[in-house]
């Protein structure tokens, strides 16, 4: 006991070097989740990542609110408009953000539309104004958006991140895409988690021949090259399916691979916990198997599962992005990060409209954040280790 207390003394030594006794008391009564939280808080990068991830999911919840033009509304006369810069203060010095109007002029040599800023026309940005109609959380019909502009004048337009070839606003599309991509990650992980806990649990709990069999299956799944397999399965989805059906099918396909890692974690924990004194004690006291599993074993490794999940999520997101990028994943009119990046697939397009690559930024940030978060959680998950 003193050893453990001393160990904690070392962790919290910097905060309470003298008040060892008080610190030890605090630690002695702390629940496991408190211990994990305390340890997690020491990873500054992981805490920051947690905030970033939370913000992204908040963004996903309010995607339509954060968009300002209908992500589907296209206008071929507005193709490849570069990102606009916002002027925050009007000429009289008052805070009144606006963007300049644009004039499209066709270059008679290249037949390309070239946009020039019209310094005389200002498009003012309103906060919490009205825009296109949508359902908040899919339930509450509203027209309220964070940003809006006067769209009754047909020449007006707001293109914070520019437009694609069909003149669709990249900012608004990116908001909606984030929702799709982030949720497909969650859905995929949920399925993987179910499969992983089921097979990993059976494997670790029963051991013997069942364990060997499941381990071989896992090894087998892991040695199949994933991308060709996904591509094959995804390409085989019927063309007639609706985008919702495709969405679910794709989720299922990407989680077919992801479950093996989770199963390994769960199995490993089961195997090591099976030998632990408290489990043996519960067994000797005649607790039922179910009670042992749910009351004693599961709580002691939920933290490990959470850590494994947060490391599996970015892999899911990458999978979806890759598939959609190839044109085999989600299908338009669905919008995801991969679908946005599909527009930026070749060097010719990139040369004309490099801002299309901006869709890569949220992908990179989210995946980095999940990786840091998962690392921090994994370190914190073992408060006694």
């Amino acid at each position: 006991m003193t050893v453990i207390a001393n160990m904690f003394g070392r962790w919290f030594g910097r905060k309470a070097p003298q008040s060892g006794a008080i610190g030890e008391d605090r630690i002695a009564v702390a629940t496991q989740s408190q211990l994990i939280w305390w340890r997690f808080k020491k990873h500054k990068l992981a805490v920051l990542s947690l905030v970033v991830v939370a913000l992204f999911y908040l963004l996903a919840l309010f995607a339509d609110f954060l968009a300002y033009t209908d992500p589907e509304s296209s206008d071929s006369r507005r193709g490849y408009i570069p990102p606009q810069s916002i002027c925050w203060f009007d000429s009289d010095g008052a805070f009144r953000p606006y963007v300049h109007g644009l004039k499209g002029v066709r270059d008679m040599k290249t037949f390309k539309l070239v946009y020039t800023v019209d310094p005389n026309r200002k498009v003012y940005i309103k906060f919490f104004g009205e825009g296109y109609a949508y359902n908040l959380f899919g339930l509450i019909p509203t027209k309220r958006h964070l940003l809006s502009y006067d769209s009754t004048v047909p020449e007006n337009g707001l293109f914070l991140l520019g437009t694609d070839v069909q003149g669709r606003d990249l900012w608004s599309r990116l908001m909606v895409a984030s929702r799709v991509s982030l949720l497909i990650g969650l859905a995929g992980v949920t399925i993987s988690l179910f499969l992983g806990v089921l097979f990993g649990g059976i494997s670790g709990l029963y051991g013997g021949a069942i364990d060997t069999a499941i381990q071989r299956v896992i090894e087998l799944v892991r040695s199949i090259p994933t991308i060709p397999l996904w591509m094959g399965l995804a390409a085989a989805l019927p063309n007639t399916w609706s985008s919702i059906q495709v969405y679910f099918a794709i989720t299922l396909i990407i989680s077919l691979i992801g479950w093996t890692d989770l199963a390994r974690v769960v199995r490993g924990r089961f195997l090591s916990l099976r030998e632990e004194d408290f489990v043996v004690a519960a067994d000797l006291m005649g607790a039922s198997r179910m009670r042992i599993i749910f009351r004693h074993m599961l709580p002691s490794f939920t933290s490990h599962i959470i850590a494994a999940v947060s490391l599996a999520l970015p892999a899911m997101i990458i999978s979806e992005t890759s598939l959609s990028f190839l044109g085999l994943g989600l299908r338009p009119p669905a919008i995801s990060w991969g679908i946005l990046l599909q527009d930026a697939q070749n060097i010719q397009t990139l040369a004309i409209a490099p801002w299309l690559l901006l869709a890569a930024v949220p992908v990179i940030i989210v995946i980095l954040a999940f990786n840091f978060l998962g690392d921090g959680l994994r370190d914190a998950a073992d408060p006694y280790g």
Binding site: R216, E219, L220, R222, S223, I224, P225, T226, I227, P228, L229, M231, G232, L233, A234, A235, A236, P238, P314, I318, T321, S322, F325, L326, G327, L328, L341, A344, Q345, I347, L350, A351, P354, L357, A360, V363, I364, I367, L368, N371, F372
Partner: protein, 330 residues
Amino acid sequence: MAAFIFRRFLLALATMWAISVLAFTIIQLPPGDFVDAYIARLSSTGSSVSLAEAQGMRELYGLDKPYAVQYLKWVGRVIKGDFGESMEWQRPVSEVIGDRLWITVLISFAALLVTWGLALPIGIYSAVRQYSVGDYVFTFIGFIGLAVPNFLLALIILYVSFRWFGLNVGGLFSSEYELAPWSLAKVWDLTWHLPLPALILALAGTAQLIRIMRANLLDELRKPYVVTARAKGLTETRVILKYPVRAALNPFASTLAYLFPYLVSGSIIVSLVLSLPTVGPVLLKALIAQDMYLAGAIVLLLGLLTVVGTFLSDLALMWIDPRIRHQVDQ
């Protein structure tokens, strides 16, 4: 030892079987069969096929038999090297794939070498100089490598080199060699084009392997046998390279088993962005056009590649770790 090899070999066979079933399923998944697609194709060019002819073709290919029989027939043909006809290209599948399979192997293998060549020294450095500036820098780069999917990295590099250097880094050959028959000059040209795609492909795996190597080596550095080696009077470099590094190589080698499938997978999508002449672009086209014999053959061949890679890595592991060699003997 023989038992170990045998077990691994059985596992390789089982994996191969599973992949062949998957490949066959992929061939079968789209609605209609090969003959339907064939008829549709012919009718689009104006000619037509009678019902009797269609029936004849179905019998010829065994399409009227249950799936299991069809599968066996397909496997039988594949073993003889006959992958069927590509509808899209109107040529035998093996001809369409041609050199592309070897180029896929080449790129994946080059990426593997890059991964090892970078991860091993960097991992050792990061562990021995834990918490040094270099360690932090490599850790940071490693995280970026993990977080940026390789096709995105390829896109970014493609854009950057075009925008600022005016270079097109795509392709594996200069234009004059693209269609030329193999020659020494062409090989030389390839050698120049290979490193960049290999590096892009290798980055994520390298990042992962550096972390594995660093963690393992940190563990090993604390083991008593390191103190023993030091107490003999060996130089520090020799102590570290001969003992803990050797022990840390063990898990390093076992990552090969999934690194290779991962690289082969990655090469598909990177090839698309960098327009490399691997099987990747062909597979994508075949899948979109539902040219299923071609797609199935490619999936099967890629599977075979990774199975062979995994088997070789098992042999490497056995060669590296005397415990595996001897425990199996007993």
